[in-house]
């Protein structure tokens, strides 16, 4: 086991924290926008709902079900040609957000859909009875009523993203994952690995804390 050298480790550590931060934040922002929209579309196109459309629902459903079971590592590898053609390189945190966004957005689509479906039919009916159009019911009743559990669902995905960035990092994204792998594990420097693990725990706690705080604010039951 090597001696732990703080002067060599910490500069790399802060860069890695930054890279992980970029991957998590960019991937989460992108995936949240796309995923929630997909979730809304999935909910609205569901047979019996306001924009019911069997074709859209079936296609979306299929795509999500195809992407979801594939392990993230495989998705990330399979998408290397795509990220290279988009960014000219597969290296660095930004190119690696592409597979992260794709995997996270289908998960968010599913989470959003199930939270929207769980909104009380009574609330929806009350909106219709008051004379709200179906689109108005969707955006002023269904979405706000689902927001609390939706926030918790998004937090769950955010935490899962921190996990996935480690894999993306090893595949060229950099960040804490690759630091632990390349600087720590491969050099038998277990202290470095330990610090990275601690940093990841703190990061996840922070994400969960934020999510819970937002959920508490929007939920009133």
């Amino acid at each position: 086991m090597r001696d732990f050298d703080p002067n060599a480790f910490f500069p790399r550590f802060w860069v890695a924290v930054g890279e992980t931060g970029i991957m998590v934040v960019v991937a989460f922002a992108g995936a949240a926008v796309i995923g929630v929209l997909l979730g809304l579309l999935l909910y609205a196109s569901r047979p019996g709902n306001l924009l019911q459309n069997r074709a859209i629902f079936a296609v979306l459903n299929l795509v999500i079900n195809v992407v979801r079971p594939i392990p993230f590592l495989i998705v990330a590898i399979a998408l290397i040609p795509l990220t290279r053609s988009l960014f000219g390189t597969g290296l660095g945190p930004l190119p690696q957000t592409i597979p992260l966004i794709i995997v996270a957005c289908v998960a968010i689509a599913r989470v959003s859909e199930s939270n929207l479906v769980a909104v009380s039919p009574g609330s929806i009916e009350a909106g219709a009875a008051m004379g709200a159009s179906p689109a108005r019911v969707l955006f002023t009743i269904v979405v706000p009523e689902a927001l609390g559990p939706l926030t918790l669902g998004l937090t769950y995905i955010l935490v899962a993203l921190v996990d996935a960035t480690a894999v993306a990092g090893v595949l060229g994204g950099g960040g804490l994952g690759s630091l632990a792998m390349n600087y720590g594990y491969q050099r038998f420097d277990w202290i470095s690995v330990g610090i990275v693990v601690l940093a990841l725990i703190v990061l996840v706690q922070l994400a969960q804390f934020l999510g819970n705080a937002v959920a508490r604010k929007v939920m009133h039951r």
Partner: protein
Amino acid sequence: MSTAIAFENVSKSFTSKGRTVDALRDVSLTVEKGEIFGIVGFSGAGKSTLLRTVNALERPTSGRVVVDGREISALQGRALYAARQRIGMVFQQFNLLESRNVYKNIAYPLRLAGLSEAETLDRVEELLRFVGLTDKALAYPSQLSGGQKQRVGIARALATRPDVLISDEATSALDPQTTGEVLALLRRVNEEYGVTILLVTHEIDVVRELAHKVAVMEDGAVVEHGSIYDVFSSPRHPTTRRFVSSVLHHIPSAEALAKIRAVHRGRLVQLHVEDRDTNHPFLSQVSRAHDVDVNVVFGGVDELQGRLFGSLTVELLGTDAAVDAAIAGLRETTTVSELPAPDARTSEKEAVHA
């Protein structure tokens, strides 16, 4: 009076998994402006489905539903949304928006109607005063009791000053005390704002307390309807009789009748009691005239909408011929029905009401 709601030969059938269920069968009813009309029936009778055709949450398979002169069952899109804003609806489970506070729940229909912020504020304040919840404006539904939630539900339903209020089992999730408060509030809605109320309930007591007219539904059809007094004082259909006898206890139940029979072996008749202009003692007169002894074994007199009605079950003791003559004599004054002899094998309903 003019018509607020008219159901014209309304039928509705649902088809699921190849089986067709008739939820409504050729229902025709008229609700006049300003009245409180109760629809009562056991669960599955189709009363909620009928109610929901009033704001087109359900559409009839055939027939028309006309609200304030407009055939709502034919409206679509914007015209329908506008028409629904003129019809308030109150729900059994309140159906408040959990993510909004009381103020915003009541403001929701006002926003739909396009009121400004200032107008909304004024109107919501007025409604909160009317339902007695001014101190709860910023509370969320989860912080309210059932009765408070329903008062918010009523305030929300009244927000756009609708002409018609429909109520789907509004008190069925509440305890008796709270039910009384909500019924009193609904009566004020009717009396102070002149709102026509069509309500659906399985609790006959609610209808008795609140309504002017009642329709009894069974198996998707209206089996009896009329003024509260007429229907309660002389129910004709067996279902109506079951409802009425559950709240008015002057008619003996099958068990009570069996106990009476065990003691009283003579012929039993039921005499109808109602408001009478004259005040002659017909029972003792008939008794003397026909040499028949009279024994009151069951009965009671209720008050309904300021009028008396009820029934007495009496045992007539004498020769068969004398009793026959006495019954004929009683019939000159009131409605008389003889209960079948004890050994006759009859159903409960027939035994009680034949």
